[in-house]
């Protein structure tokens, strides 16, 4: 978050600038620690289960974070997840490995292009992001339903191994899902903070006019951001098919995934006004949101109450953030 205080020591400054992201990682660590005391055995099985279950949301949240940082918001990401999920389930079932890999790469590239086109439409039409993506969300989930009218299909054992750590999707080793969680997150996070294009997203998100006057290509930034969002949604759909072993075109799944991705992004310290925050924090909040479920189950909380608690926590954390910002404003 933005601080006006000048801090000389560079290491401290980096810590201070990323205090929110650091905070959510500490929170995740504390939750993990707490969870490990709640259940009798805490080992690789739990780590596998938590990481693999959080993959779809984390991917979606990373994509959403990049789009929000560039000053937009994408309500169609969940529908793109559905689209990726059903294409994978329909065209991967029973196919040899090369075909499966081709389908996977095709999905990621195709959805990246598709969503880049949406970004282009947004810049071209001047219609707010939220409206355009609301409409395209309907189109993509309709398309998903058309491709796979009812739940079904399947995927290759290798795909399941990549995202879940075991060819059958049950048990398995924890390092494939953990790597699949950390590598894309780290790549996007570093890309967005070090490359010219990545930094231009921050510039455009924080002040579009200023960025344009400074000579940045505002259109290109938006199109790139939406393209990355599409690619991450494609990855999320692949993780989903690896997790469940089937494709499911239900509209509600996509809508929920979209809303959760927005929640993860905001909790991760990315401001919906754009230009603020980073992807590191979002990865932690994505995992945290998924981890609440097993924790509450371990505490023997009924699933309806668990939903209430999750909502209260989201609202509570945001209220706390608002209060802190307010107090800081008063002090200065």
């Amino acid at each position: 978050m933005a601080f006006s205080v000048a801090i000389r020591n560079p290491a401290l400054r980096i810590l201070f600038r990323n205090s929110w992201a650091l905070g959510v990682w500490l929170l995740l660590g504390a939750l993990l620690l707490w969870y490990s005391t709640l259940i009798p055995v805490f080992g690789p099985f739990q780590i596998t289960s938590i990481t693999k279950n959080s993959l779809p949301l984390v991917y979606l949240a990373i994509g959403q974070a990049i789009i929000v940082i560039s000053g937009g918001i994408d309500l169609s990401l969940g529908a793109l997840l559905l689209l990726s999920n059903v294409i994978a389930a329909r065209f991967m079932a029973g196919q040899p490995l090369p075909t499966v890999v081709l389908v996977a790469l095709g999905i990621i590239a195709g959805l990246a292009l598709l969503n880049a086109l949406v970004g282009f439409i947004i810049t071209l039409s001047g219609v707010p992001d939220i409206v355009v993506t609301l409409a395209t969300g309907y189109i993509w989930s309709g398309l998903a339903l058309w491709i796979l009218p009812s739940p079904g299909g399947g995927t290759a054992p290798e795909m399941r191994w990549l995202f879940t750590g075991s060819p059958s999707g049950v048990g398995g080793s924890y390092w494939p899902p953990l790597l699949m969680l950390l590598i894309p997150g780290a790549l996007v996070a570093i890309w967005s903070r070090t490359t010219r294009v990545g930094l231009s997203l921050y510039a455009v998100g924080s002040n579009k006019t200023a960025a344009q006057l400074a000579g940045l290509d505002v259109r290109r930034a938006k199109i790139v951001a939406y393209g990355i969002g599409g690619a991450m949604a494609g990855l999320a759909g692949l993780a989903m098919v690896a997790l469940t072993g089937t494709g499911d075109p239900r509209f509600a799944i996509g809508a929920n995934a979209t809303l959760n991705s927005v929640a993860a992004v905001v909790l991760g310290g990315v401001a919906l006004t754009g230009g603020v925050g980073n992807v590191f924090g979002v990865v932690a909040t994505g995992v945290t949101l998924i981890m609440l479920n097993p924790i509450l189950i371990a505490m023997r909380v009924d699933s309806n109450n668990a939903q209430v608690i999750q909502g209260v926590l989201i609202a509570g954390v945001m209220m706390f953030g608002g209060l802190v910002a307010f107090l800081r404003e008063r002090r200065s």
Binding site: P128, V131, G142, N304, N305, Q307, V308, Q310, G311, A315
Partner: protein, 329 residues
């Protein structure tokens, strides 16, 4: 622009002036779109071009129109409410549960649910400055959990609404004017008057347009925000009770499908999602257009997949058309 257009003559000039007329009267264009869609629907389903066709369209549009009213007020302040459908469902559930105690109590309790939840949203957004998207999203999740748990405990019992509510939601006055449309009309008149003529309405536009300027001018921004969220809660509750009356019984999926259309109706009607621009008359047309579109797609019998794609494409096309019309002016 003006000197340039004076030079341009003939066909180009005529097109420009037509465009300018459309830009100055976007509501007339929306009404044209509505009439066009209605005629297309009538061409596909001949029985639709009748009093009962109009009646059905209005009956479908009333709950959506009232939910979109809640959305319009909040969007004017620069906010949004993603919990409208859960508030509507919750209010309907409470109204059904209280129906054995009489319709008046049932309706009042239902409205009270809306007021309470709306106030909580308002406190979060106006006082703690939580982003409205997140606040109402969290609230929606809380409500879903609470009501799912409560349906087995405190709200166990009647899921049938009182006859009066059923008449309100599905019945008609003199056989042709649905009561729910009368309710919608009342809400519409009150809201349009409030937004256009009352001081409160001016403040809604003011804080949506420029919050800092409004605050510096002495507006107590948080009070206006809070009242807007309370109003949104009550409006959602009204819509929920009407929906419950139409179906006769309640369940937790009662209003779920209306969330995105409620935002879409306000947006198609020209209310800016960033606040300060728009109004309820456009939203009414937006709700009507979406309802006719729904009937059209149902009559076409093309399956849900194509329906969703066409629905999304038309919403996008309308929003795009509206933006390109109004931007040129």
């Amino acid at each position: 622009m003006s000197s340039e257009s004076r030079v341009v003559r003939g066909r180009v000039g005529k097109e420009r002036s037509l465009q300018r007329w459309a830009a100055e009267n976007p509501l007339a264009v929306l009404a044209g779109v509505f009439v066009l869609l209605f005629l297309v629907t009538s061409a596909i389903q001949p029985g639709f071009f009748s009093v009962s066709g109009v009646r059905n369209t209005l009956l479908q549009a009333a709950p959506l129109g009232i939910l979109a009213a809640a959305q319009t007020v909040l969007m004017l302040t620069g906010g949004i409410d993603l919990s409208v459908t859960m508030i509507a469902t919750g209010a309907a559930y409470v109204a059904a549960n209280q129906s054995p105690n009489g319709a008046a109590i049932a309706i009042l309790m239902g409205l009270l649910v809306g007021l309470i939840v709306g106030s909580m949203n308002g406190v979060g957004v106006a006082i703690f400055r939580v982003n409205p998207l997140i606040m109402t999203l969290a609230m929606s999740s809380i409500l879903l959990g609470l009501f799912t748990a409560w349906t087995q405990t405190v709200l166990a019992g009647s899921t049938q609404v009182a006859p009066f509510i059923r008449m309100l939601g599905g019945g008609s006055w003199m056989g042709s004017v649905p009561y729910s449309v009368v309710v919608w009309g009342g809400v519409a008149i009150a809201l349009i008057w409030l937004l256009r003529r009352s001081g409160w309405g001016r403040l809604i536009y003011a804080i949506g347009d420029n919050e800092t300027a409004a605050r510096l001018a002495g507006v107590r921004v948080w009070q206006v925000r809070l009242s807007a969220y309370m109003l949104s809660g009550v409006l959602s509750a009204i819509a929920g009770i009407l929906l419950a009356g139409r179906t006769g019984a309640v369940d937790l999926q009662l209003a779920g499908a209306f969330l995105l259309p409620s935002v879409a109706a306000a947006v198609i009607g020209g209310t800016s999602i960033f606040g300060g621009m728009g109004g309820y008359s456009g939203t009414i047309l937006g709700a009507l257009i979406l309802s006719v579109l729904n009937s059209l797609l149902t009559f076409l019998n093309v399956g849900q997949a194509i329906q969703q794609m066409v629905y999304g494409s038309i919403v996008l096309a309308l929003a795009w058309g509206y933006a390109s019309l109004t931007r040129r002016s």
